[in-house]
Amino acid sequence: MKLRVDGARCQGHALCHAAAPQLFRLRDEDGHSSPALEDVPPELEALAARAARGCPEQAILLDED
């Protein structure tokens, strides 16, 4: 599974990082998010899906391999 964050939609709510700190990195300047891992290992797929559902901007995209 591939993880992407749409930079045009992300507004820095930082909820993805709270839900899954191992999957997201927050930029120091503004707290906007980017993937910490692009390829989500199978054991973290459910967590990635949970973080994606919780994003108020719906900026997190998951693509099945």
């Binding site: 820095g12 709510h13 930082a14 120091d28 300047e29 503004d30 707290g31 919780g54």
Partner: protein, 413 residues
């Protein structure tokens, strides 16, 4: 109030919405009105305060908030506007709040400047400050076995913290916080009468501090603003004031009211309180859920820049639109069992901090304050009970819902 009277009152507000009507200032009426609006009139016109549209469903509120090109913030974001723009004066000479009253593209330049001041990277440095203030406030009342959780806790915590972050003298926090509390919960006419004066008063004080910091910078927001450049030039006085004044109102008024509502809820729901005491790991989720159910800011306004539509309703250029965050947060289409507090609710995409470009700058700091406040209150005065007879809702909850008095008793410590 009798059941029939309440139903008639709700009906009256559904037909003619007026969030500043004295009878709207109630624990339950606003939420009953929002529910009926979502059901029956999701985009409702009212002739109150010069006329505006009321948008109450989650999907519509989020859509309006995300479309800054169609729905402008530059003509004021509250209804009515406490400090209306002076006719004929260009925007950069107006007494505005920056960047909440500013549209893209200029918005982005300001936002880039203020984002680093409140980024999550700062939280580890802010946490000790929050803990110190929380500890000191509880120390002051814990031996008495009674206090007012609004006056003695929910108000001073954000007040002291915000003033400290800005770099203003901490002992003066009331001088900065109280006029905002008073204005936001006053009748609109009274708020408008006082606002320009205390804005100017704040401006003088903040700019004097900024001038000192220019030569002797410290690690505070006014130092950062005093030395900041925008498009290659230093910030103008009105810009420094516009940013600092927004941080002040955003910092002091919102968090106070959200925390107060949560304290009242916990007093009324001892089983939930016990669960949070036993499992503090639930607190971050509980904070999110309290933020959803007790959104302090009920809604913010936009102005249509062209003829458009919202959910099939035609909106004309120049008309104002009130986006009801507090209603969106209780929309059954987005949140199952929307009136229930479910501390592990997921997803919980509430709109308490807004959505889109104008997302609340202080959201992460507010979450931190809220969590530590709950943690420490539940640890140090776990059996606090609200004296319901002394509990008071603010006299105006149209812009910000909250309590003006939360007397409690507890086992002295």
């Amino acid at each position: 109030m009798l059941h029939g009277d309440r139903a008639r009152l709700v009906r009256r507000f559904v037909e003619r919405f007026d969030h500043h009507d004295p009878e709207f200032a109630d624990e339950e009426i606003p939420f009953a009105v929002y529910a009926a609006l979502r059901r029956e009139r999701p985009v409702a016109w009212t002739d109150a305060h010069g006329g505006f549209w009321v948008v109450s469903r989650y999907a519509d509120v989020a859509r309006v908030a995300r479309d800054d090109l169609t729905f402008s913030s530059a003509r004021g974001i509250t209804i009515p506007h406490p400090v209306p723009p002076v006719e004929g004066l260009p925007p950069d000479q107006q007494l505005r709040m920056i960047p909440i009253d500013v549209d893209p593209p200029q918005f982005f330049a300001y936002r880039k400047l203020v984002d680093p001041l409140f980024s999550p990277a700062r939280l580890p440095h802010q946490e000790p400050d929050v803990r110190e203030i929380v500890g000191r406030l509880i120390d002051a009342f814990i031996a008495k076995g009674r206090c007012d959780l609004h006056e003695d806790f929910a108000k001073p915590l954000p007040g002291i913290l915000t003033v400290r972050i800005l770099g203003l003298p901490e002992a003066d926090w009331r001088r900065y916080a109280e006029p905002f509390h008073a204005a936001i919960h006053a009748k609109p006419e009274q708020a408008a009468a006082g606002a320009r004066d205390f804005y100017l008063d704040n401006a003088r004080a903040m700019l004097a501090v900024a001038a000192e910091r220019r030569s002797e910078p410290r690690k505070d927001v006014l130092s950062a603003l005093a030395s900041a450049t925008l498009e290659g030039r230093p910030l103008r006085d009105l810009e420094i004031f516009g940013i600092a004044n927004l941080i002040l109102v955003g910092g002091v008024e919102t968090t106070t009211n959200a925390m107060g509502s949560a304290f009242v809820y916990l007093s009324r729901h001892p089983e939930l309180r016990q669960r949070l005491i036993e499992s503090p790991g639930l607190l971050p989720g509980a904070v999110e859920e309290f933020l959803r159910v007790f959104a302090p800011v009920q809604g913010l306004a936009r102005t249509a820049m062209r003829d458009c539509e919202i959910a099939g309703q035609r909106i004309r250029e120049g008309e104002r639109v009130l986006m009801l965050w507090a209603s969106a947060n209780r929309d059954e289409a987005e949140f199952p069992a929307p009136d229930d507090v479910i501390v592990d609710r997921h997803p919980n995409r509430h709109l308490t901090f807004g959505v889109g470009n104008h997302r609340c700058l202080g959201s992460n700091l507010a979450r931190l304050e809220f969590r530590i406040a709950l943690e420490e209150l539940l640890r140090r005065i776990p059996d606090f009970r609200v004296d319901e007879a002394g509990l008071r809702v603010q006299p105006d909850v149209g812009t910000t819902f909250g309590y003006g008095a939360i007397p409690v008793r507890f086992t002295p410590g």
